[in-house]
Amino acid sequence: MNRMGIIGWLVLPLAAIYFIVPLVMTLAFSLWQGGSSYGFASYRVLMGRPQLPSSLLLSTELAGATALMLVVLLLPAMIFMNLYAPKLRPLFEFIAALPFVVPAIALVAGLTALFTGPEWLLGSPFYLVIPYFFLALPYAYRSLDVGLGALDLTTLTEAGQSLGATMGQIIRFVVLPNLRSALVGSLLLTLAVVIGEFTFANVLLFRTFAVFMNQIGQHEATEAAALVMVSFLITWGAMLGVLVVGRGCSPVGGGH
C-alpha cells in the first residue's frame, strides 16, 4: 500500500463524519419537541403555514419560467450560432463567462441602479427570471456546448434539407433529440438552483421558498430544520434526475 492510500483512508472516515453529522443533527433537531420528547410536531406546524405552499409554488413557477427562457432564448441562439455564425463564438463565450465574474449581489446592485421601471416588470416576481437566466447561463451554456460539439450540425442540416425537411423540422426531429440529455441535465440543475436561490429574491423583496425559509429560521429553529430536510430532499430529487438522465455532464450549480 502506498502513502497516498493511507492518507486517503484517513481522510475518508473524517469526510464521512463531516458530511453526515450535520444532516443527522438537523434531522434530529427537526424532530425535537423540547425536553426529551421527539416527534413530528414541527413538520405539522410547518404544513399548516399557508406561506409554505405559496412560496414553494412561486419558486417552482420561477424555475419553470427560467427553464423556458433557456429553451426559448439560449438554445436556438446557440444552435444557429454554431450553424451560421461560428465567428460569434467568442462573444457567446464572453457572455456565458460574465455571470461568473460579476457576482449575483453585484448584478442585483447594477440592475437596481439601472432600472427603476416599468412597474409591471419590476413589481412582478417574474422579474427574477431575468437574473435567474444569467445565474443558470454558465452551466447551461457549457453543457449545451458539449452536446452541440458532439454533433456535426452542418452535415445533419444538409442531410435533412436534401430529404426535403424545413429548418423547423430538422431542429425538432434531428437536433433536439440529440441534445436531450444535455438539455434535461441543465434544466434539472436550473430547477435545483432556482428553488434554493436567495440573493436576488431577498434583495428585490420577493417571497420565494428560500426567503420564506430564512424568515422561519429567524424565529422557529426546529421548523427551519424541518424545512432544511424538505429542501435537501428536493435537491436530492433534482440531482438524481440529472445523474439518471444526463450521464457524463457534471451537475454543478450556482447560488451559494
Binding site: A28, F29, W32, P76, F80, N214, G217, Q218
Partner: protein
Amino acid sequence: MRPLIAWLSIGAFVAVATAFLVAPTLMLAIQSIYGDDGLTLEYILSMGEYRYRVAFENSLLLSLGSATVGVVAGGLIAHAVLKPSAPRWLRSVVTSFSAVAANFAGVPLAFAFISTLGSLGLLTQWLKGLGFDIYAAGFSLYSISGLTLTYSYFQIPLMLIIITPAIEALRPSWREAAENLGASGGQYWRMIGLPVLMPSLLSGWILLFGSAFSAYATAYALTSGNIGLVTTEISNVLSGNVMASPQTGAALSVGMIVVMVGVLALSSVLARRAARWMPQR
C-alpha cells in the same frame, strides 16, 4: 442560406444579455465614479475605510481558506475513491452525494450548521454534556473559521466533481513506468502526478474561490450580516440598513469584479506556466 429566424434568435439572446447583464455591469462602473457633483474618486477611495477594508479582508480570507480546504480535501477524497482498489459502491455513493451536497448551499446549509454547531446546536450541547464546551474553547460558528467550516460543505464536493475527470485521465502506465525506474510513491506524485493535475487543480481552485467570494445567502443566514463580508455589505447598502450612498454599493461591487478578474487573469498565467511541459498545440 441564412434564415431570418436564425439572426432573430441570435440577436434576441445578445440583446437580452446586453441589456440585463452587460449594461448593469457598466452602470456599476459609471455609478462608482459619479457623485452628486460630477466625476469623483471619493467612493472608490472610501473602500480604504476600516469597515470596507475589513469586509474585503474577511471575504478574501474566507474565499482563500475555503477554496484551499476544498481543493486539498476534495482532491484527497477523489484520489482515494478513484483508486482501482477502492470498492465500486463507494465511488457511486460519493459521486451522487457530491452532486447533491455541491448544490445544497445557501439558507438550508446555514440552518443545518446552526442546528448542529450553533450556540444551541445539538452537537454543541452534546459535547457540553460530555464536559467539552467548544464555545468556551474559542470556537464560534458565527466567525470566519465557522464560515469556512460551513462553506467547505459545498466546496469539497464541488472540487470532487471538477477533479474527477482529471484524476481518471492519469494513466496507470505512467505510474508503472515511474515505479520500474525506481521512483517511490512520493516521487511519482511530486514529479508526475501533481504536475499533470496542476492545470485542473488551478482551475478548480479558481472556481471554488469564485463560489465562496460571491456567496451571500449562506453568510447572511448564518451571521445575519454581523460579520462584514463584501457581499453582505453590498446588501446592507441596497436594503438601506446602513447610512451609505448607492455609489458606495457600486464601488463595492466594482471591487468584487476587479478581484474576480484579477484572480482569473492570475490563474490563466499560472495555468499556462503549469502546462508548459505539455506538447504545444
